[in-house]
Amino acid sequence: MNMKKFAFIKIALVASIVSIILWSCDPTDPNNPNEGEVITSLRITAISGSDTVSFAYSDPDGNGGNPPAIDTAVLATSTVYNVTLELIDETKNPDDTLTSQILAEGIDHQFFFSMTLSLNLMSAYADLDANNNPIGLSNTWTTTTASTGSVIITLKHQPGIKPASPGDILVGETDIEVTFPVRIE
């Protein structure tokens, strides 16, 4: 083995190391995980005449980190409420609302409301998507006698597979699943 060949190997080695390091991607400029769309809060507003009840699930720092805060909803007996849902991304400044996006993609989304048996609350859809199927951003809630329990609000993403009214909670993937304690008094 002569020195010439040695030198060649050395040069080739160094050249390839340098070129690969220059070519490899730079990790020092990371993505900000909060740049993408994240639903951090679900705000619910229930209006009956002059009576307004607001409650929310909020996790401003997103998944992980601090645990989310979940409000208890206190509703009046024998009342009909107009209920609207709002989806917020609080990792942005100012807060970004994703509600219009769900509305625009209404044919691919549906909210479901299920109540525990003890709770005397009924929910009916008050909005429709382009195919005349319910979305669930606007609803009518009717209470009867005093009771306690919880409402589970589920948002299903059903791209191209959304079943006709009244819909099917088993279809698609869960975007939101939040349980609110509810007291009717």
Partner: protein
């Protein structure tokens, strides 16, 4: 003198002819032959010719030292030297028949029309009619290890081919797999996997996103000609983090006979209605026989996997691989270039994606998955799409009689895309990692004295990671350097080995935490060591003892994971205060080797300080998408101990009983409890019957095996969402034969039936055991067809 030699050979020939085949045809042939030979003798009287070459094993291209080689015509014989080379000198022009024999290999004959100095290399094919159990072999050029080593090659490897690498290794005692459904299987050795079980693919550290429990090794199992498992810490030679051991996946060296030859593997399986195939072609050039090339491609495709009773929805997979290489080997120096691409798309079992803990409980309580669909080849969301590229260059220079300087340089890029089942409508992955790794090594194998050999080397690694999509692990840059030195001394019955290694590793992460840019840096350095001894009493008994000291810095995922792991529907949380792991490992083994009885007994003990593992948080992680089971990276002082027993018994001349037993116990001293996710006891027994060879059939066998896996009762209290599954036993059948066509062409056929009784079972180390039974009956048919073209064939046909 020349004439004398010729006449002797003719006399011999004629004696043979008259004795064996005295008929008219033979006589006519004989006369012609004599005339021909006389003619040659008259026309040319050059008797300074030589025939030389090397003798290598066709399966792994290992040189076959001391193979016997005889010239039929002259009766002159010789043996290949230590390097596998042979030569016959002072031959006259003429026709010579060379017969090459070696124990355990088919005898090869070749007729050469000698006119000028000729080089002919023998590629001996393994005679597979022997105990296809374990082989403990000693490499001539490599220092023997005092750890237990298990090599799978030739027919034994072919039998397990067509599956993923993890599945191919499962039959090795002490090996297990950590499965995510049936498409992802990660090799586990002595309860350890991922970063603790190093995989050396073609001499290069495999650098993929190995940290994930549902990230299988990105290796095409078809490329391997030989897979070796080194049990026990092997940090000095292979890297400080080889705590559990090393898996060496080795393709055959790129040394091919002149002309073109190849191998075609085909397999089909009934479960998943899938198939796999691989085509390899290789050859070398007549004018430049030291230069060989190889090109190989393979595919695997399978639909939804069936369990007894139902299909697992969205468990289809497909895989396409390609590799090519160029080798130039001379005695003094040589080089090898290699490029490979691995690509796979794996469906993730639909029912493993659930909304919250209630759903998880429902899924666990349900006797069958909550989502069941008809059989399909479609791969829907969620799925993984992974591409792994590797380019490698290797060169060696002989620096003396027994010393060699080796340079290895490799580049790898791993692109892992994970598509969440409910990602956006556009085709952006939910998780996307690009991991680029450059590795380099300079290794000097040397021998200062006949009885002392060793190696000295340096190695380096430069790695960057970038992510896109949802956050899971941060971007990082990792720079490693290591120096090692080991020596092996042979003294009579004893071999002593000792080695030491120093590594320094720098890790810097780059990320945003709550919109604030952070770039924490870590520096780790430490020493690894190995001492061991081998005692060879005689051919029948060998004992080994080894102590290894290894360490492993925490991986970025263990420090900074924070996110929903889509492949496993779990929320994983890192801990940036974790310290490097420190492992002490003792291995003791005894090997008995008799013609009718082989036994290998290995006992191992690992004590690992600050062992990092995923501990369930029990409190689920609540997200707006529901509650997910949480797992926190935690460290504890643990020990792992166990026994591996391998036994082959020749019950009668044709009945072989092979028995493999793995027992393992693990304890977490910090928690004062068992260690989670450790394999349970495993007993694998096989009875095979070897039929008599016929003219056209070599090594026909049938075998039945029974695998018993006990219930893992040694689990930490209240740490899991479901109790470990029950014990199970599986019955399997297999049969195989090599068809010999025209004495040259061999076609190997094998048929295996796994889970013959279609037993429903769940395995503790399958991450989908919460949701579904494991795979049901599967019938696999495999074919191996060696292909021989052009001059290689012609040379052989001249016989």
């Amino acid at each position: 003198m020349h004439h004398l030699l010729l006449s002797i050979s003719i006399q011999e020939l004629s004696a043979q002819y008259f004795k064996n085949q005295f008929n008219q045809v033979a006589l006519v042939r004989y006369i012609f032959l004599m005339i021909g030979l006389l003619g040659i003798a008259w026309s040319q009287t050059n008797c300074n010719l030589s025939i030389s070459g090397k003798i290598v094993s066709d399966a792994d291209r290992d040189k076959m030292c001391f193979a016997d080689i005889v010239i039929k015509e002259t009766g002159k014989g010789t043996a290949a030297n230590e390097e596998g080379y042979y030569s016959f000198n002072n031959l006259c022009t003429g026709k010579y028949t060379l017969v090459c024999t070696h124990v355990g290999y088919f005898t090869q004959e070749i007729t050469i029309e000698l006119k000028e100095n000729t080089i002919y290399d023998f590629y001996l094919k393994e005679n597979e009619v022997e105990l296809h159990g374990f082989t403990l072999e000693e490499h001539d050029d490599k220092v023997e290890l005092s750890q237990t080593k298990y090599t799978m090659e030739g027919a034994h490897l072919d039998k397990n081919r067509g599956a993923t690498l993890g599945e191919s290794l499962k039959r090795i005692t002490g090996m297990y797999t950590l499965n995510t459904g049936n498409s992802i299987s990660k090799p586990v050795l002595h309860g350890m996997h991922s970063k603790r079980l190093l995989i050396l693919n073609n001499g290069v550290r495999q650098e993929g996103q190995q940290w994930g429990q549902e990230h299988g090794p990105e290796i095409d199992a078809f490329v391997a000609k030989k897979i070796t498992i080194v049990k026990g810490s092997s940090s000095v030679r292979y890297g400080s983090d080889a705590i559990a051991g090393v898996i060496l996946v080795e393709p055959a060296a790129i040394i091919a006979p002149p002309g073109i030859r190849g191998d075609l593997y085909l397999s089909g399986n009934t479960n998943g209605f899938g198939g796999a195939g691989s085509l390899m072609l290789e050859g070398s050039f007549k004018k430049l026989s030291a230069l060989s090339w190889r090109i190989q491609g393979s595919f695997r495709k399978s639909g939804d996997v069936a369990t007894p009773g139902y299909y697992m929805a969205n468990t289809a997979m497909e895989e396409y691989n390609f590799s090519t290489g160029l080798g130039y080997y001379k005695e003094k120096a040589g080089f090898e270039l290699f490029f490979s691409m691995f690509h796979t798309k794996l469906g993730i079992f639909s029912a493993s994606h659930f909304g919250n803990l209630t759903d998880l409980q429902n899924a666990i309580n349900s006797p069958q998955p909550l989502i069941i669909r008809d059989f399909s080849y479609d791969i829907d969301r969620p799925y993984q799409d992974i591409t792994h590229y590797m380019a490698k260059g290797k060169a060696y220079v002989k620096t003396g009689q027994k010393s060699k300087l080796e340079f290895t340089f490799a580049f790898q890029e791993n692109r892992r895309k994970e598509f969440d089942s409910h990602g956006s409508l556009n085709e952006d992955p939910s998780l996307f990692f690009i991991l680029q790794t450059v590795t380099g090594e300079v290794n000097w194998q040397h021998s200062f004295h006949k009885k002392l050999k060793g190696a000295l080397g340096i190695s380096g690694l430069y790695q960057t990671n970038r992510w896109d999509g949802f956050f899971f692990i941060p971007n990082f840059r990792n720079v490693n350097g290591g120096v090692y030195w080991y020596e092996n001394l042979k003294l009579g019955h004893w071999d002593f080995e000792a080695g030491i290694r120093y590594d320094i590793s720098s890790l810097q992460a780059y990320m945003y935490v709550n919109n604030v840019y952070q770039d924490p840096a870590f520096l780790y350095h430490n020493i690894s060591a190995n001492v061991g001894t081998i005692f060879h009493l005689n051919d029948h008994f060998t004992a080994r003892a080894n102590y290894g000291l290894a360490w492993r810095p925490p991986h970025i995922s263990e420090l900074y994971s924070n996110g929903l792991h889509h492949g496993s529907a779990s929320y994983e949380i890192g801990d940036s205060t974790l310290l490097p792991e420190r492992a002490h490992n003792v291995n003791l083994s005894a090997n008995l080797n008799f013609s009718r009885f082989k036994l290998e007994l290995t006992g191992y003990y690992y004590y690992i300080q600050d062992f990092i593992y995923l501990k369930p948080t029990l409190e689920p992680v609540l997200t707006i998408r529901g509650a997910f089971p949480g797992f926190q990276y935690t460290a504890g002082d643990v020990d792992i101990k166990g026994v591996d027993v391998d036994m082959d018994v020749l019950l009668t001349k044709r009945f072989v009983w092979s028995s493999k037993t793995s027992l393992l116990w693990a304890w977490n001293y910090t928690q004062k409890d068992f260690l989670i996710n450790m394999p349970s006891y495993r007993f694998d027994n096989e009875l095979s019957y070897q039929f008599k060879d016929t003219k056209t059939m070599k090594g026909p066998y049938i075998s039945a095996n029974l695998l018993v896996v006990t219930r893992q009762s040694m689990v930490p209290a209240n740490s899991d969402y479901a109790a470990p599954p029950d014990a199970y036993f599986l019955v399997g059948l297999s049969a195989g034969v090599d068809f010999l066509i025209k004495k040259v062409q061999t076609i190997s056929v094998s048929l295996t039936v796994a889970n013959l009784l279609d037993t429903p079972y769940r395995d503790y180390l399958n991450r989908f055991r919460y949701f579904s039974n494991d795979m049901g009956r599967n019938v696999v048919l495999k074919l191996k067809i060696p292909l021989e073209f052009s001059s290689y064939k012609k040379l052989k046909k001249t016989k």
